[in-house]
Protein backbone atom coordinates (compact mmCIF):
# COMPACT_ATOMS: atom_id res chain seq x y z
CA UNK A 1 0.00 0.00 0.00
CA UNK A 2 1.35 3.36 -0.87
CA UNK A 3 0.38 6.86 -1.87
CA UNK A 4 -3.29 7.33 -2.49
CA UNK A 5 -4.21 3.87 -1.26
CA UNK A 6 -2.52 4.40 2.06
CA UNK A 7 -4.16 7.77 2.37
CA UNK A 8 -7.59 6.25 1.73
CA UNK A 9 -6.93 3.50 4.26
CA UNK A 10 -5.94 5.99 6.91
CA UNK A 11 -8.94 8.19 6.10
CA UNK A 12 -11.26 5.22 6.61
CA UNK A 13 -9.60 4.48 9.94
CA UNK A 14 -10.00 8.10 11.04
CA UNK A 15 -13.62 8.14 9.95
CA UNK A 16 -14.25 4.96 11.90
CA UNK A 17 -12.82 6.43 15.08
CA UNK A 18 -14.66 9.69 14.46
CA UNK A 19 -18.01 7.98 14.15
CA UNK A 20 -17.37 5.91 17.26
CA UNK A 21 -16.64 9.09 19.21
CA UNK A 22 -19.74 10.69 17.78
CA UNK A 23 -21.86 7.78 19.02
CA UNK A 24 -20.24 8.08 22.42
CA UNK A 25 -21.03 11.78 22.41
CA UNK A 26 -24.68 10.97 21.67
CA UNK A 27 -24.70 8.69 24.70
CA UNK A 28 -23.27 11.49 26.79
CA UNK A 29 -25.93 13.94 25.56
CA UNK A 30 -28.69 11.42 26.19
CA UNK A 31 -27.69 10.54 29.74
CA UNK A 32 -26.81 14.06 30.91
CA UNK A 33 -30.42 15.24 31.34
CA UNK A 34 -31.15 12.28 33.61
CA UNK A 35 -28.41 13.27 36.00
CA UNK A 36 -29.23 16.97 35.73
CA UNK A 37 -32.90 16.41 36.51
CA UNK A 38 -32.23 13.91 39.26
CA UNK A 39 -29.62 15.93 41.10
CA UNK A 40 -31.40 19.23 40.65
CA UNK A 41 -34.60 17.74 42.06
CA UNK A 42 -32.61 16.18 44.88
CA UNK A 43 -30.93 19.48 45.71
CA UNK A 44 -34.16 21.47 45.61
CA UNK A 45 -36.45 18.92 47.17
CA UNK A 46 -34.37 17.51 49.99
CA UNK A 47 -34.55 20.74 52.00
CA UNK A 48 -38.33 20.71 52.10
CA UNK A 49 -38.75 17.07 53.05
CA UNK A 50 -39.37 16.46 56.74
CA UNK A 51 -41.93 14.72 58.87
CA UNK A 52 -44.40 17.60 58.52
CA UNK A 53 -44.30 17.22 54.78
CA UNK A 54 -45.86 13.78 55.09
CA UNK A 55 -48.29 14.28 57.96
CA UNK A 56 -49.45 17.91 57.74
CA UNK A 57 -52.11 19.49 55.59
CA UNK A 58 -51.27 22.29 53.16
CA UNK A 59 -51.13 25.64 54.94
CA UNK A 60 -52.82 28.77 53.55
CA UNK A 61 -50.70 31.28 51.63
CA UNK A 62 -48.31 33.18 53.88
CA UNK A 63 -48.09 30.59 56.63
CA UNK A 64 -44.85 28.70 56.66
CA UNK A 65 -44.60 24.94 56.81
CA UNK A 66 -47.41 22.55 56.10
CA UNK A 67 -47.30 19.38 54.11
CA UNK A 68 -49.24 17.32 51.66
CA UNK A 69 -50.73 14.52 53.66
CA UNK A 70 -54.00 14.87 51.78
CA UNK A 71 -52.23 14.60 48.41
CA UNK A 72 -50.31 11.51 49.48
CA UNK A 73 -53.47 9.79 50.65
CA UNK A 74 -55.29 11.05 47.55
CA UNK A 75 -52.70 9.54 45.24
CA UNK A 76 -52.93 6.23 47.13
CA UNK A 77 -56.72 6.22 46.81
CA UNK A 78 -56.53 7.10 43.13
CA UNK A 79 -54.07 4.36 42.26
CA UNK A 80 -56.07 1.97 44.45
CA UNK A 81 -59.21 2.70 42.45
CA UNK A 82 -57.20 2.48 39.23
CA UNK A 83 -55.83 -0.87 40.35
CA UNK A 84 -59.34 -2.20 40.96
CA UNK A 85 -59.98 -1.68 37.25
CA UNK A 86 -56.53 -2.20 35.80
CA UNK A 87 -55.44 -5.29 37.73
CA UNK A 88 -58.22 -7.81 36.91
CA UNK A 89 -58.50 -6.71 33.30
CA UNK A 90 -54.74 -6.54 32.74
CA UNK A 91 -53.83 -9.78 34.50
CA UNK A 92 -56.63 -11.92 33.05
CA UNK A 93 -56.08 -10.55 29.56
CA UNK A 94 -52.36 -11.22 30.03
CA UNK A 95 -53.10 -14.82 31.05
CA UNK A 96 -55.22 -15.27 27.95
CA UNK A 97 -52.48 -13.92 25.70
CA UNK A 98 -49.81 -16.10 27.28
CA UNK A 99 -51.70 -19.36 27.71
CA UNK A 100 -54.20 -19.33 24.84
CA UNK A 101 -52.56 -16.74 22.64
CA UNK A 102 -51.59 -18.60 19.47
CA UNK A 103 -54.34 -17.26 17.29
CA UNK A 104 -55.32 -14.29 15.16
CA UNK A 105 -57.60 -12.84 17.82
CA UNK A 106 -54.77 -12.79 20.36
CA UNK A 107 -52.50 -11.05 17.84
CA UNK A 108 -55.20 -8.45 17.36
CA UNK A 109 -55.50 -7.96 21.11
CA UNK A 110 -51.71 -7.54 21.35
CA UNK A 111 -51.83 -4.96 18.61
CA UNK A 112 -54.61 -3.03 20.31
CA UNK A 113 -52.81 -3.22 23.65
CA UNK A 114 -49.88 -1.47 22.01
CA UNK A 115 -52.19 1.07 20.41
CA UNK A 116 -53.84 1.66 23.78
CA UNK A 117 -50.48 2.29 25.40
CA UNK A 118 -49.77 4.96 22.79
CA UNK A 119 -52.95 6.94 23.40
CA UNK A 120 -52.07 10.21 25.16
CA UNK A 121 -53.02 10.16 28.83
CA UNK A 122 -54.92 13.42 28.46
CA UNK A 123 -57.24 11.74 25.94
CA UNK A 124 -57.95 9.01 28.47
CA UNK A 125 -58.74 11.78 30.95
CA UNK A 126 -61.25 13.26 28.52
CA UNK A 127 -62.90 9.85 28.16
CA UNK A 128 -63.09 9.40 31.93
CA UNK A 129 -64.70 12.84 32.08
CA UNK A 130 -67.32 11.76 29.56
CA UNK A 131 -67.94 8.40 31.21
CA UNK A 132 -67.93 9.40 34.86
CA UNK A 133 -67.89 13.16 35.50
CA UNK A 134 -70.80 14.01 33.18
CA UNK A 135 -73.19 11.33 34.51
CA UNK A 136 -72.23 12.05 38.14
CA UNK A 137 -72.36 15.81 37.51
CA UNK A 138 -69.26 16.29 39.65
CA UNK A 139 -65.50 15.89 39.55
CA UNK A 140 -64.59 12.89 41.65
CA UNK A 141 -61.89 10.55 42.82
CA UNK A 142 -63.77 7.80 41.02
CA UNK A 143 -63.35 9.54 37.66
CA UNK A 144 -59.61 9.92 38.31
CA UNK A 145 -59.41 6.25 39.26
CA UNK A 146 -61.15 5.20 36.05
CA UNK A 147 -58.66 7.23 34.00
CA UNK A 148 -55.66 5.75 35.82
CA UNK A 149 -57.15 2.25 35.57
CA UNK A 150 -57.44 2.50 31.79
CA UNK A 151 -53.87 3.80 31.64
CA UNK A 152 -52.57 0.85 33.69
CA UNK A 153 -54.15 -1.83 31.52
CA UNK A 154 -51.63 -2.02 28.64
CA UNK A 155 -48.56 -2.19 30.90
CA UNK A 156 -50.08 -4.83 33.16
CA UNK A 157 -51.35 -6.93 30.24
CA UNK A 158 -48.02 -7.01 28.45
CA UNK A 159 -45.90 -7.63 31.57
CA UNK A 160 -48.20 -10.42 32.73
CA UNK A 161 -47.99 -12.05 29.31
CA UNK A 162 -44.21 -11.77 29.16
CA UNK A 163 -43.70 -13.08 32.68
CA UNK A 164 -45.99 -16.08 32.14
CA UNK A 165 -44.25 -16.87 28.87
CA UNK A 166 -40.95 -17.10 30.73
CA UNK A 167 -42.26 -20.07 32.73
CA UNK A 168 -40.71 -23.14 31.11
CA UNK A 169 -43.06 -25.35 29.11
CA UNK A 170 -41.94 -28.37 31.12
CA UNK A 171 -43.66 -26.94 34.22
CA UNK A 172 -46.98 -27.02 32.38
CA UNK A 173 -46.32 -30.49 31.06
CA UNK A 174 -45.50 -31.72 34.55
CA UNK A 175 -48.84 -30.43 35.83
CA UNK A 176 -50.79 -31.91 32.94
CA UNK A 177 -48.98 -35.22 33.24
CA UNK A 178 -50.12 -35.46 36.85
CA UNK A 179 -53.70 -35.19 35.60
CA UNK A 180 -54.37 -31.57 36.53
CA UNK A 181 -56.73 -29.81 34.15
CA UNK A 182 -55.13 -26.95 32.30
CA UNK A 183 -56.81 -24.21 34.30
CA UNK A 184 -55.51 -25.65 37.54
CA UNK A 185 -52.07 -25.97 36.02
CA UNK A 186 -52.23 -22.30 35.12
CA UNK A 187 -53.50 -21.17 38.51
CA UNK A 188 -51.49 -23.50 40.75
CA UNK A 189 -48.22 -23.95 38.88
CA UNK A 190 -47.69 -21.33 36.19
CA UNK A 191 -48.97 -18.25 38.03
CA UNK A 192 -47.10 -18.89 41.31
CA UNK A 193 -43.91 -19.41 39.31
CA UNK A 194 -44.40 -16.14 37.47
CA UNK A 195 -45.73 -14.32 40.52
CA UNK A 196 -42.59 -12.38 41.37
CA UNK A 197 -42.29 -10.99 37.86
CA UNK A 198 -45.97 -10.21 37.60
CA UNK A 199 -46.04 -8.46 40.97
CA UNK A 200 -43.13 -6.20 40.20
CA UNK A 201 -44.46 -5.55 36.70
CA UNK A 202 -47.81 -4.60 38.15
CA UNK A 203 -46.11 -2.30 40.65
CA UNK A 204 -44.29 -0.68 37.76
CA UNK A 205 -47.57 -0.08 35.97
CA UNK A 206 -49.05 1.38 39.14
CA UNK A 207 -46.01 3.60 39.67
CA UNK A 208 -46.34 4.93 36.17
CA UNK A 209 -50.00 5.73 36.81
CA UNK A 210 -49.05 7.47 40.06
CA UNK A 211 -46.88 9.83 38.01
CA UNK A 212 -49.71 10.87 35.71
CA UNK A 213 -51.03 14.41 35.95
CA UNK A 214 -52.87 15.27 32.75
CA UNK A 215 -55.76 12.79 33.13
CA UNK A 216 -56.40 13.95 36.70
CA UNK A 217 -56.74 17.67 35.98
CA UNK A 218 -60.40 17.44 35.05
CA UNK A 219 -61.41 14.15 36.65
CA UNK A 220 -60.07 14.08 40.22
CA UNK A 221 -59.50 17.84 39.93
CA UNK A 222 -57.57 18.37 43.17
CA UNK A 223 -58.59 19.43 46.64
CA UNK A 224 -56.89 21.56 49.27
CA UNK A 225 -58.78 19.84 52.04
CA UNK A 226 -58.87 16.39 53.52
CA UNK A 227 -61.12 14.09 51.55
CA UNK A 228 -61.28 10.35 51.20
CA UNK A 229 -64.69 10.13 49.56
CA UNK A 230 -64.62 8.67 46.10
CA UNK A 231 -67.50 10.90 45.05
CA UNK A 232 -65.64 14.13 45.87
CA UNK A 233 -62.74 15.82 44.12
CA UNK A 234 -59.50 14.55 45.61
CA UNK A 235 -55.94 15.83 45.90
CA UNK A 236 -53.00 14.07 44.27
CA UNK A 237 -49.23 14.53 44.43
CA UNK A 238 -48.88 15.32 40.74
CA UNK A 239 -51.65 17.91 40.51
CA UNK A 240 -50.23 19.37 43.71
CA UNK A 241 -46.83 19.77 42.00
CA UNK A 242 -48.51 21.39 39.00
CA UNK A 243 -50.51 23.90 41.06
CA UNK A 244 -47.58 24.79 43.29
CA UNK A 245 -45.13 25.08 40.40
CA UNK A 246 -47.30 27.77 38.83
CA UNK A 247 -47.59 29.71 42.09
CA UNK A 248 -45.45 32.77 42.80
CA UNK A 249 -44.61 31.72 46.37
CA UNK A 250 -41.11 30.57 47.17
CA UNK A 251 -42.07 27.99 49.80
CA UNK A 252 -44.80 26.50 47.62
CA UNK A 253 -42.30 26.00 44.83
CA UNK A 254 -39.99 24.35 47.36
CA UNK A 255 -42.78 21.95 48.28
CA UNK A 256 -43.42 21.23 44.62
CA UNK A 257 -39.79 20.12 44.31
CA UNK A 258 -40.14 18.00 47.40
CA UNK A 259 -43.21 16.27 45.97
CA UNK A 260 -41.39 15.77 42.66
CA UNK A 261 -38.50 14.18 44.54
CA UNK A 262 -40.84 11.80 46.34
CA UNK A 263 -42.36 10.80 42.98
CA UNK A 264 -39.00 10.27 41.28
CA UNK A 265 -37.55 8.24 44.14
CA UNK A 266 -40.64 6.05 44.29
CA UNK A 267 -40.58 5.38 40.57
CA UNK A 268 -36.83 4.81 40.32
CA UNK A 269 -36.99 2.42 43.24
CA UNK A 270 -39.78 0.37 41.69
CA UNK A 271 -37.94 0.32 38.36
CA UNK A 272 -34.77 -0.98 39.95
CA UNK A 273 -36.72 -3.60 41.92
CA UNK A 274 -38.36 -4.71 38.68
CA UNK A 275 -34.95 -4.96 37.01
CA UNK A 276 -33.58 -6.94 39.90
CA UNK A 277 -36.52 -9.31 40.17
CA UNK A 278 -36.56 -10.15 36.46
CA UNK A 279 -32.81 -9.99 35.95
CA UNK A 280 -31.83 -13.64 35.65
CA UNK A 281 -34.71 -14.66 33.42
CA UNK A 282 -34.18 -11.91 30.89
CA UNK A 283 -30.53 -12.95 30.72
CA UNK A 284 -31.46 -16.55 29.90
CA UNK A 285 -33.82 -15.38 27.22
CA UNK A 286 -31.18 -13.33 25.48
CA UNK A 287 -28.44 -15.94 25.61
Amino acid sequence: MKGRELYLYRWRKVKDKGMASLALFCVFLAVTPLFMIFFYTLAQGLGAINIDFFIQMPKPVGEAGGGMANALVGTLILIGLGGLIGLPVGILAGIYLAEYGNNKFADTVRFFTDVLSGIPSIVVGVVAYILVVIPMKSFSALAGGVALGILMIPTITRTTEEMIRLVPQSFREAGLALGLPQWKTTLRIVLPTALKGITTGVLLGIARAAGETAPLLFTALGNRFWSTSIKEPIASLTVFVYDYAKSPFEDWIQQAWAAALVLILLIFLLNLIFRYATRGRYGEQQA
Binding site: A23, A30, I95
Partner: protein, 330 residues
Protein backbone atom coordinates in the same frame (compact mmCIF):
# COMPACT_ATOMS: atom_id res chain seq x y z
CA UNK B 1 -54.78 -38.68 29.05
CA UNK B 2 -56.27 -35.32 28.25
CA UNK B 3 -55.90 -35.15 24.49
CA UNK B 4 -57.70 -31.89 23.80
CA UNK B 5 -56.16 -30.03 26.68
CA UNK B 6 -52.85 -29.38 25.05
CA UNK B 7 -54.49 -28.03 21.96
CA UNK B 8 -53.87 -24.30 21.50
CA UNK B 9 -56.48 -21.64 20.60
CA UNK B 10 -56.91 -21.31 16.83
CA UNK B 11 -59.30 -24.06 16.00
CA UNK B 12 -61.85 -22.89 18.54
CA UNK B 13 -62.48 -19.62 16.78
CA UNK B 14 -63.09 -21.31 13.48
CA UNK B 15 -65.91 -23.44 14.91
CA UNK B 16 -69.11 -23.14 12.86
CA UNK B 17 -71.79 -22.40 15.42
CA UNK B 18 -71.67 -21.42 19.05
CA UNK B 19 -73.98 -24.20 20.20
CA UNK B 20 -72.03 -27.02 18.66
CA UNK B 21 -68.80 -25.37 19.71
CA UNK B 22 -69.91 -25.25 23.34
CA UNK B 23 -71.11 -28.84 23.21
CA UNK B 24 -68.02 -30.38 21.71
CA UNK B 25 -65.67 -28.21 23.66
CA UNK B 26 -67.24 -28.91 27.02
CA UNK B 27 -67.40 -32.62 26.34
CA UNK B 28 -63.86 -32.85 25.08
CA UNK B 29 -62.30 -30.71 27.77
CA UNK B 30 -62.78 -30.16 31.42
CA UNK B 31 -65.64 -27.79 32.37
CA UNK B 32 -63.24 -25.74 34.50
CA UNK B 33 -60.99 -25.28 31.49
CA UNK B 34 -63.89 -24.07 29.43
CA UNK B 35 -64.92 -21.52 32.05
CA UNK B 36 -61.41 -20.31 32.84
CA UNK B 37 -60.46 -19.94 29.22
CA UNK B 38 -63.55 -17.93 28.45
CA UNK B 39 -63.23 -15.66 31.46
CA UNK B 40 -59.74 -14.70 30.32
CA UNK B 41 -61.03 -14.38 26.78
CA UNK B 42 -63.67 -11.90 27.92
CA UNK B 43 -61.04 -9.72 29.57
CA UNK B 44 -58.82 -9.89 26.51
CA UNK B 45 -61.85 -8.73 24.57
CA UNK B 46 -62.32 -5.84 27.03
CA UNK B 47 -58.78 -4.61 26.29
CA UNK B 48 -59.48 -4.89 22.59
CA UNK B 49 -62.82 -3.07 22.71
CA UNK B 50 -61.55 -0.30 24.97
CA UNK B 51 -59.96 1.45 22.00
CA UNK B 52 -63.28 1.46 20.17
CA UNK B 53 -65.14 2.61 23.28
CA UNK B 54 -62.75 5.56 23.61
CA UNK B 55 -63.22 6.50 19.96
CA UNK B 56 -66.99 6.17 20.11
CA UNK B 57 -67.43 8.18 23.31
CA UNK B 58 -65.29 10.98 21.96
CA UNK B 59 -67.16 11.02 18.69
CA UNK B 60 -70.45 11.38 20.60
CA UNK B 61 -68.97 14.09 22.79
CA UNK B 62 -67.66 16.14 19.89
CA UNK B 63 -70.63 15.77 17.50
CA UNK B 64 -71.90 19.23 18.37
CA UNK B 65 -68.62 20.91 17.35
CA UNK B 66 -68.11 18.67 14.32
CA UNK B 67 -71.62 19.48 13.12
CA UNK B 68 -71.24 23.22 13.51
CA UNK B 69 -67.70 23.85 12.28
CA UNK B 70 -66.98 20.90 10.03
CA UNK B 71 -63.62 21.19 8.35
CA UNK B 72 -63.16 24.84 9.32
CA UNK B 73 -62.40 23.60 12.84
CA UNK B 74 -59.00 22.56 11.58
CA UNK B 75 -58.31 25.65 9.48
CA UNK B 76 -59.82 28.34 11.71
CA UNK B 77 -57.52 30.51 13.81
CA UNK B 78 -60.07 32.12 16.12
CA UNK B 79 -60.65 30.38 19.46
CA UNK B 80 -63.27 32.38 21.31
CA UNK B 81 -65.24 30.45 23.95
CA UNK B 82 -67.33 33.52 24.82
CA UNK B 83 -68.78 33.80 21.32
CA UNK B 84 -68.74 30.05 20.60
CA UNK B 85 -66.25 30.44 17.77
CA UNK B 86 -63.73 27.62 17.59
CA UNK B 87 -60.82 27.10 15.20
CA UNK B 88 -57.94 24.90 16.31
CA UNK B 89 -55.21 25.78 13.82
CA UNK B 90 -52.88 27.58 16.28
CA UNK B 91 -52.96 24.53 18.56
CA UNK B 92 -52.41 22.09 15.71
CA UNK B 93 -49.54 24.25 14.49
CA UNK B 94 -47.96 24.31 17.94
CA UNK B 95 -48.22 20.55 18.33
CA UNK B 96 -46.80 19.87 14.87
CA UNK B 97 -43.88 22.30 15.18
CA UNK B 98 -42.85 21.31 18.71
CA UNK B 99 -43.06 17.61 17.84
CA UNK B 100 -41.04 18.02 14.66
CA UNK B 101 -38.35 20.00 16.47
CA UNK B 102 -38.21 17.19 19.00
CA UNK B 103 -38.04 14.45 16.39
CA UNK B 104 -35.40 16.26 14.31
CA UNK B 105 -33.06 16.40 17.30
CA UNK B 106 -34.00 13.16 19.07
CA UNK B 107 -33.79 10.86 16.04
CA UNK B 108 -30.08 11.28 15.20
CA UNK B 109 -29.20 11.24 18.90
CA UNK B 110 -31.18 8.05 19.46
CA UNK B 111 -29.62 6.35 16.47
CA UNK B 112 -26.19 7.22 17.83
CA UNK B 113 -27.05 5.80 21.24
CA UNK B 114 -28.68 2.69 19.74
CA UNK B 115 -25.62 2.06 17.55
CA UNK B 116 -23.36 2.43 20.55
CA UNK B 117 -25.50 0.06 22.63
CA UNK B 118 -25.89 -2.63 20.00
CA UNK B 119 -22.59 -2.46 18.10
CA UNK B 120 -19.85 -0.96 20.23
CA UNK B 121 -20.47 -1.18 23.95
CA UNK B 122 -19.16 -4.14 25.91
CA UNK B 123 -21.87 -5.90 27.91
CA UNK B 124 -20.87 -4.46 31.28
CA UNK B 125 -21.41 -0.92 29.96
CA UNK B 126 -24.40 -1.75 27.82
CA UNK B 127 -26.65 -3.09 30.57
CA UNK B 128 -26.38 -0.19 33.04
CA UNK B 129 -26.53 2.32 30.21
CA UNK B 130 -29.74 0.77 28.90
CA UNK B 131 -31.18 1.01 32.40
CA UNK B 132 -30.21 4.68 32.64
CA UNK B 133 -31.85 5.48 29.32
CA UNK B 134 -34.99 3.65 30.40
CA UNK B 135 -35.07 5.46 33.73
CA UNK B 136 -35.29 8.63 31.66
CA UNK B 137 -38.58 7.28 30.34
CA UNK B 138 -39.83 6.58 33.86
CA UNK B 139 -39.57 10.17 35.12
CA UNK B 140 -43.09 11.60 35.33
CA UNK B 141 -43.98 14.26 32.83
CA UNK B 142 -44.74 16.76 35.59
CA UNK B 143 -41.15 16.55 36.87
CA UNK B 144 -39.83 17.33 33.38
CA UNK B 145 -42.18 20.31 33.37
CA UNK B 146 -40.95 21.52 36.74
CA UNK B 147 -37.35 21.19 35.63
CA UNK B 148 -38.25 22.89 32.37
CA UNK B 149 -39.71 25.94 34.13
CA UNK B 150 -36.88 26.45 36.60
CA UNK B 151 -33.80 25.24 34.70
CA UNK B 152 -34.32 24.89 30.95
CA UNK B 153 -36.38 28.03 30.36
CA UNK B 154 -34.08 30.42 32.27
CA UNK B 155 -31.09 28.89 30.49
CA UNK B 156 -32.72 29.40 27.10
CA UNK B 157 -33.73 32.95 27.98
CA UNK B 158 -30.40 34.16 29.29
CA UNK B 159 -27.89 32.10 27.35
CA UNK B 160 -29.04 30.17 24.31
CA UNK B 161 -31.62 32.39 22.67
CA UNK B 162 -29.65 35.67 22.82
CA UNK B 163 -26.57 33.92 21.46
CA UNK B 164 -28.43 32.19 18.63
CA UNK B 165 -30.37 35.27 17.59
CA UNK B 166 -27.11 37.26 17.57
CA UNK B 167 -25.46 34.94 15.06
CA UNK B 168 -28.48 33.57 13.15
CA UNK B 169 -31.00 36.36 13.74
CA UNK B 170 -31.31 36.96 9.99
CA UNK B 171 -33.34 33.74 9.77
CA UNK B 172 -37.01 34.31 10.57
CA UNK B 173 -37.18 31.18 12.71
CA UNK B 174 -34.64 32.66 15.17
CA UNK B 175 -36.09 36.15 15.34
CA UNK B 176 -37.87 37.79 18.21
CA UNK B 177 -37.45 38.44 21.90
CA UNK B 178 -35.95 35.67 24.02
CA UNK B 179 -38.82 34.76 26.31
CA UNK B 180 -37.50 31.35 27.22
CA UNK B 181 -41.03 29.98 27.28
CA UNK B 182 -41.89 28.95 23.73
CA UNK B 183 -41.71 26.40 20.95
CA UNK B 184 -37.98 25.79 21.38
CA UNK B 185 -38.35 25.01 25.09
CA UNK B 186 -41.23 22.65 24.34
CA UNK B 187 -39.27 20.97 21.55
CA UNK B 188 -36.18 20.49 23.72
CA UNK B 189 -38.09 19.05 26.66
CA UNK B 190 -39.79 16.66 24.22
CA UNK B 191 -36.37 15.58 22.92
CA UNK B 192 -35.48 14.28 26.37
CA UNK B 193 -38.86 12.62 26.75
CA UNK B 194 -39.01 10.74 23.44
CA UNK B 195 -35.35 9.81 23.29
CA UNK B 196 -35.71 6.66 25.44
CA UNK B 197 -38.47 5.08 23.36
CA UNK B 198 -36.77 5.74 20.03
CA UNK B 199 -33.47 4.50 21.43
CA UNK B 200 -34.76 1.31 22.98
CA UNK B 201 -36.76 0.27 19.92
CA UNK B 202 -33.95 1.13 17.50
CA UNK B 203 -31.55 -0.84 19.67
CA UNK B 204 -33.87 -3.86 19.61
CA UNK B 205 -34.19 -3.57 15.84
CA UNK B 206 -30.43 -3.35 15.34
CA UNK B 207 -29.91 -6.30 17.67
CA UNK B 208 -32.37 -8.43 15.74
CA UNK B 209 -30.21 -8.14 12.61
CA UNK B 210 -28.31 -11.41 12.20
CA UNK B 211 -24.66 -11.54 13.21
CA UNK B 212 -23.73 -12.75 9.76
CA UNK B 213 -24.47 -9.30 8.31
CA UNK B 214 -21.78 -7.79 10.50
CA UNK B 215 -19.36 -10.61 9.87
CA UNK B 216 -19.85 -10.34 6.13
CA UNK B 217 -18.95 -6.66 6.22
CA UNK B 218 -15.94 -7.13 8.45
CA UNK B 219 -14.72 -10.09 6.40
CA UNK B 220 -14.66 -7.90 3.31
CA UNK B 221 -12.31 -5.54 5.14
CA UNK B 222 -14.84 -2.94 6.19
CA UNK B 223 -14.08 -0.88 9.27
CA UNK B 224 -16.55 -1.26 12.15
CA UNK B 225 -18.25 1.99 11.12
CA UNK B 226 -18.62 0.79 7.51
CA UNK B 227 -20.15 -2.43 8.74
CA UNK B 228 -22.44 -0.41 11.03
CA UNK B 229 -23.66 1.42 7.94
CA UNK B 230 -24.78 -1.91 6.51
CA UNK B 231 -26.55 -2.68 9.77
CA UNK B 232 -28.21 0.73 9.81
CA UNK B 233 -29.49 0.41 6.28
CA UNK B 234 -30.88 -3.07 7.01
CA UNK B 235 -32.60 -1.68 10.08
CA UNK B 236 -33.86 1.41 8.29
CA UNK B 237 -37.55 0.54 8.32
CA UNK B 238 -37.42 -0.52 11.97
CA UNK B 239 -35.84 2.80 12.91
CA UNK B 240 -38.59 4.55 10.95
CA UNK B 241 -41.10 2.68 13.11
CA UNK B 242 -39.26 3.79 16.24
CA UNK B 243 -39.33 7.39 15.00
CA UNK B 244 -43.09 7.20 14.40
CA UNK B 245 -43.61 5.89 17.93
CA UNK B 246 -41.53 8.74 19.29
CA UNK B 247 -43.53 11.21 17.25
CA UNK B 248 -46.74 9.74 18.67
CA UNK B 249 -45.38 10.30 22.18
CA UNK B 250 -44.40 13.87 21.40
CA UNK B 251 -47.78 14.72 19.90
CA UNK B 252 -49.68 13.51 22.95
CA UNK B 253 -47.34 14.81 25.64
CA UNK B 254 -49.22 17.22 27.86
CA UNK B 255 -47.84 18.43 31.17
CA UNK B 256 -44.22 19.20 30.35
CA UNK B 257 -45.22 20.98 27.14
CA UNK B 258 -48.00 22.96 28.84
CA UNK B 259 -45.56 24.18 31.46
CA UNK B 260 -42.92 25.51 29.04
CA UNK B 261 -44.58 26.31 25.69
CA UNK B 262 -45.91 29.70 26.85
CA UNK B 263 -49.60 29.00 26.17
CA UNK B 264 -50.27 31.74 23.66
CA UNK B 265 -52.50 30.81 20.72
CA UNK B 266 -50.50 32.46 17.96
CA UNK B 267 -48.92 31.19 14.80
CA UNK B 268 -45.42 32.57 14.65
CA UNK B 269 -42.50 31.63 12.44
CA UNK B 270 -39.96 32.06 15.22
CA UNK B 271 -39.21 29.10 17.48
CA UNK B 272 -38.46 31.57 20.29
CA UNK B 273 -42.06 32.76 20.41
CA UNK B 274 -44.62 31.28 22.74
CA UNK B 275 -47.12 28.88 21.23
CA UNK B 276 -49.83 26.53 22.35
CA UNK B 277 -50.43 22.84 21.75
CA UNK B 278 -53.52 20.68 21.34
CA UNK B 279 -52.92 18.74 24.54
CA UNK B 280 -52.15 21.96 26.44
CA UNK B 281 -55.39 23.66 25.53
CA UNK B 282 -57.33 20.64 26.79
CA UNK B 283 -55.32 20.63 30.01
CA UNK B 284 -55.82 24.35 30.59
CA UNK B 285 -59.42 24.84 29.60
CA UNK B 286 -61.29 21.57 30.11
CA UNK B 287 -61.98 21.85 33.84
CA UNK B 288 -63.29 25.40 33.45
CA UNK B 289 -64.98 25.06 30.06
CA UNK B 290 -67.94 27.38 29.63
CA UNK B 291 -70.92 26.00 27.76
CA UNK B 292 -71.46 22.75 25.93
CA UNK B 293 -69.95 23.98 22.65
CA UNK B 294 -66.66 24.75 24.38
CA UNK B 295 -66.55 21.26 25.92
CA UNK B 296 -67.49 19.76 22.58
CA UNK B 297 -64.72 21.65 20.78
CA UNK B 298 -62.16 20.52 23.36
CA UNK B 299 -63.34 16.92 22.99
CA UNK B 300 -62.93 17.28 19.23
CA UNK B 301 -59.31 18.30 19.78
CA UNK B 302 -58.90 15.22 21.97
CA UNK B 303 -60.47 13.13 19.21
CA UNK B 304 -58.00 14.53 16.67
CA UNK B 305 -55.11 13.76 19.02
CA UNK B 306 -56.48 10.26 19.50
CA UNK B 307 -56.77 9.62 15.76
CA UNK B 308 -53.28 10.94 15.02
CA UNK B 309 -51.63 8.93 17.79
CA UNK B 310 -53.55 5.75 16.94
CA UNK B 311 -52.51 6.01 13.30
CA UNK B 312 -48.87 6.74 14.19
CA UNK B 313 -48.76 3.89 16.70
CA UNK B 314 -50.48 1.41 14.43
CA UNK B 315 -48.10 2.18 11.56
CA UNK B 316 -45.10 2.01 13.84
CA UNK B 317 -46.10 -1.29 15.42
CA UNK B 318 -46.79 -2.91 12.07
CA UNK B 319 -43.40 -1.78 10.76
CA UNK B 320 -41.51 -2.89 13.85
CA UNK B 321 -43.30 -6.26 13.92
CA UNK B 322 -42.67 -6.97 10.28
CA UNK B 323 -38.97 -6.18 10.73
CA UNK B 324 -38.75 -8.48 13.74
CA UNK B 325 -40.53 -11.23 11.82
CA UNK B 326 -38.32 -10.88 8.77
CA UNK B 327 -35.12 -11.27 10.75
CA UNK B 328 -36.40 -14.02 12.99
CA UNK B 329 -37.10 -16.09 9.85
CA UNK B 330 -33.65 -15.70 8.32
Amino acid sequence: MPPAVMEKGGSALAAPSLASFVKTRVRKTNLGDFIFRNITLVFAFVVFSLVFLIAYEMYLGSREAIGKFGFSFITGIVWDPVNDEFGALPYIYGTVVSSLIALAIALPLSIGVALFLSEMAPRWIERPLSILVELLAAIPSIVYGLWGIFVLVPWLRTTVEPAVSKSFGFLPIFRGAPYGFGMLAAGLILVIMILPIITSISRDVLRSIPRSYREAGLALGATPWESSKIILSSGRSGILGAALLGLGRAVGETMAVTMVIGNRAEISASVFDPGYSMASVIANEFAEAIGSMHVSALIEIALLLFLVTVILNAMARLIVWSVARRFSQT
